[in-house]
Symmetry: C2
Subunit: 358 residues, 2 copies
C-alpha cells in the first residue's frame, strides 16, 4: 500500500457523514399521515425515507438523474475467462456514444443523463467526442502474473471517480446510477467478493456474459490461483484487494461512490461489478451504505453475497445480467415514484378521509 | 345462473383469440440480435416478447397507457371485516378526483391516463364531474345472508367492464392497468380465491388494510361461513362464484379484462382484488392469460395463489398492499422499458460489435 492510497482512505473516512436519523424519523411520521393504510406502500416507504434521510427537505426538488458508465479492459482476459473477445469493450463504448446500447435506451426513456467514462479501455479514443477521457492505462495488468494495478495506477483511478463525483455535484444531480463495461470484469468482481467475504470461489463465480460449464470451471480455477498468489490470508485489506485483483473501472467506481456519499448524494448501484466497487467503498467507510440503493438483483451468483455484505435489498429482481448500469437506471422510476408519493400525496386531514378504527 | 350471464360467458369465450405464437417467435429472434449477451435482459425479454405476441408490429408505436380504477362498496362490511369504515370508499373516490391518492401521483409521473369508475359505491355521486358513472347498485348485498349480486346485477356489472374495454380501444390505449377501491373487497377476493382454487381459507386470507390477529380470525370465519352457505362443492362455476361472493367492482373488472383481451390489448393487473377478477376471467376463457401482466406481488397471501392459478409471474415485489392500481401503474415503466429496448437497441450487425465466441 502506497502513501497516496492510504491518504485517500483516511481522508475519505473522515469526511463522509452518515445520513440523518432525524430526517429519517420525520419522513416516517409524514408517510403515516398520507391517505393509505399504514405501511401499505411497502418498500416504497423505505426508499422514500432513506432518500429524505440523505437529502432532507431538498428532496422536494425535482429529481436530477444521471448514470455514469465506467469502461476499462482487463489483462486477465489473456487467460480465457470471457465468452466475448476483449475488443468488445471498445466496440460497446462506441455503441454507447451512438446511443445504441441498452443503457442508452433506458436512460433516454427515463430522462437520465448518461456519461461514458474511459478509465482504461485498451484502445485509442483520443479524437472521440462525447466520451469523458480519464484513461489511467490501456487495461489492467494480468492479475495471474502481477497485481492488476500499481499503487499509483490505483490512486489515479480512485481520483478519477472522486473528481467525477465533484462534477456530479456541480451538475446538481441528486440521484446517480453507477454502471460499467469491461470484458473480463466479472472475474475481477468474483475475486474481490472472495477476498472480502471469504465465500468459496465456486459459489460466487458465474457465467458472466455466457460461459459454458467447462470455461466456467476454468474461470474458477484462475480466480483461486489469483487469490492464492496475492493474499496470504483472507479477508484482505480492501485497497489491497482493489489494487491486486480489481479493475480500473472498479477502482474509479469506488472513488465515485465514496465521493458521492461525501456530497450526500443518493447512489444506485447496478449489478455484480458496480456492487463490488460499492463493497470496497463500504469496507473502507461503512457509513457509505446509507447512501446506497441496489437497483436490482443480478443473475451473477456473487451479487447476492455482496448485497448481503453491504446490507442492501435489491429494488428489482428481473433476472438481468447485462451491466452498463441498466438495472440501476431501470430502478430509477421506482425511486422517483417513491419520492413523488412522499411529496405529492394528500394526507388524511387534507383529503377528509377517515382513519382506521382501533 | 341466469341466461344473460351464460350468454356473456359463451359469447366471450368464442371471440377471444390467444396472442400470436408466430409473433412471439419473431420477437425472440430479434431479441437475440440486439447488442447484449444472449438472454441478459432476463425478464425484460419475456415481457417484450409477450407484448409483441399481443400486438405484433403495432408495438413499435408509442405506448398509450391508462389505468381504470373501479370503485364499489360491499354489504359484507356489516360483519366487521375491515379496519376502515365503508365510507372510506366514497372518500377515496373524491380523493382520486382531487388527484391526492397514491395512484394519481404514480399515473401523473408515468404519464398514464386515469379513469375512475363508480360501479357500486354506496353514495350519491350524481352531480360529480370527472367520474365515470356506471353505478349498478349502492354496494353489494351482504353475502353472509344472500348472494352478493342478483343475476341481473352481475350481468350489468360485467357489461360495464365490457363497454369500458370498447371505450379503451376507441382511445387507442395499448397498455391498460386495472385497479380498484372498495372497503371490504379483500373479503370478497379471499372468498373467490378459496372457491376457485380450494385452498384453505386461513392460507389465502390476509390483513387487508390492517386487521389485527383477532379481527383477521373473524374475517376467516365469515369467509368459511359464506362459502358453506353458497356452494355445495368446490371449485364452483366461476360466474356463480362472482355472483355469490364477488363484488360489483370485481365483476366489472372481469368484464373489462375479457373485453380488453378480445381487443388484443395488454392488461396489467394490480394486487389481490384485480387479480381475483383476472382469475374469474381466466376460468371463463383461459386464453385470456396471454394478455395479462402481473404488475406486482402483493403482501396479501391469497395473491400468490391466484397468480399461480393463472400462471403469471409478478414484475415487481415491493411489499405493497394498497390497491387502486398502484402496483400495476408502477410496473408500466418496466413494461415500457422492455418495449423501448426491443424497438430501439442496435443489433450486433448495425453497431459492428463482435458476437460471443463458441
Amino acid at each position: 500500500m502506497n502513501t497516496s492510497s492510504q491518504m485517500v482512505d483516511t481522508k475519505i473516512m473522515l469526511t463522509i457523514e452518515p445520513p440523518s436519523q432525524q430526517w429519517l424519523m420525520r419522513a416516517r411520521a409524514r408517510l403515516d399521515q398520507l391517505t393509505k393504510p399504514l405501511g401499505s406502500l411497502g418498500t416504497l416507504e423505505d426508499l422514500a425515507a432513506q432518500m429524505v434521510s440523505i437529502r432532507g427537505e431538498a428532496f422536494a426538488e425535482p429529481m436530477r438523474k444521471a448514470v455514469y458508465v465506467f469502461a476499462a479492459d482487463h489483462g486477465v482476459t489473456a487467460e480465457g475467462v470471457s465468452a466475448y473477445p476483449s475488443e468488445v469493450t471498445r466496440q460497446m463504448v462506441l455503441n454507447f456514444l451512438s446511443h445504441g446500447a441498452a443503457v442508452n435506451v433506458l436512460a433516454k426513456l427515463h430522462r437520465v443523463d448518461i456519461n461514458v467514462v474511459d478509465v482504461g479501455v485498451d484502445a485509442d479514443f483520443d479524437r472521440i467526442d462525447g466520451l469523458l477521457h480519464h484513461k489511467v492505462r490501456r487495461g489492467t495488468r494480468n492479475m495471474m502474473r502481477e497485481p492488476a494495478m500499481s499503487a499509483d495506477e490505483l490512486s489515479d483511478a480512485l481520483d478519477v471517480g472522486l473528481k467525477l463525483a465533484d462534477s456530479a455535484m456541480e451538475n446538481s444531480y441528486n440521484l446517480v446510477a453507477v454502471g460499467e463495461m469491461g470484458i473480463g470484469n466479472t472475474t475481477a468482481a468474483s475475486a474481490i467478493t472472495a477476498a472480502l467475504t471469504r465465500e468459496p470461489v465456486d459459489l460466487i463465480t458465474g457465467k458472466g456474459t455466457g460461459l459454458n460449464a467447462e470455461t466456467l470451471k476454468r474461470k474458477c480455477l484462475i480466480i483461486e490461483a489469483v487469490l492464492g498468489k496475492h493474499f496470504d490470508s483472507l479477508p484482505a485489506n480492501p485497497l489491497d484487494v482493489l489494487r491486486c485483483v480489481g479493475g480500473l473501472e472498479i477502482a474509479a467506481m469506488t472513488g465515485f461512490i465514496l465521493g458521492l456519499a461525501r456530497h450526500r448524494t443518493a447512489v444506485v448501484v447496478d449489478g455484480f461489478i458496480s456492487t463490488a466497487a460499492a463493497a470496497i467503498a463500504f469496507a473502507i467507510a461503512p457509513q457509505v451504505s446509507g447512501y446506497l440503493f441496489a437497483g436490482h438483483q443480478s443473475e451473477e451468483p456473487g451479487h447476492r453475497v455482496l448485497l448481503e455484505y453491504i446490507g442492501l435489498k435489491p429494488i428489482l429482481a428481473l433476472n438481468m445480467r447485462l451491466g452498463e448500469g441498466t438495472g440501476a437506471v431501470l430502478a430509477m422510476p421506482i425511486l422517483e415514484s417513491a419520492m413523488c408519493l412522499y411529496n405529492q400525496m394528500a394526507t388524511f386531514e387534507s383529503a377528509g378521509v377517515s382513519e382506521a378504527k382501533d
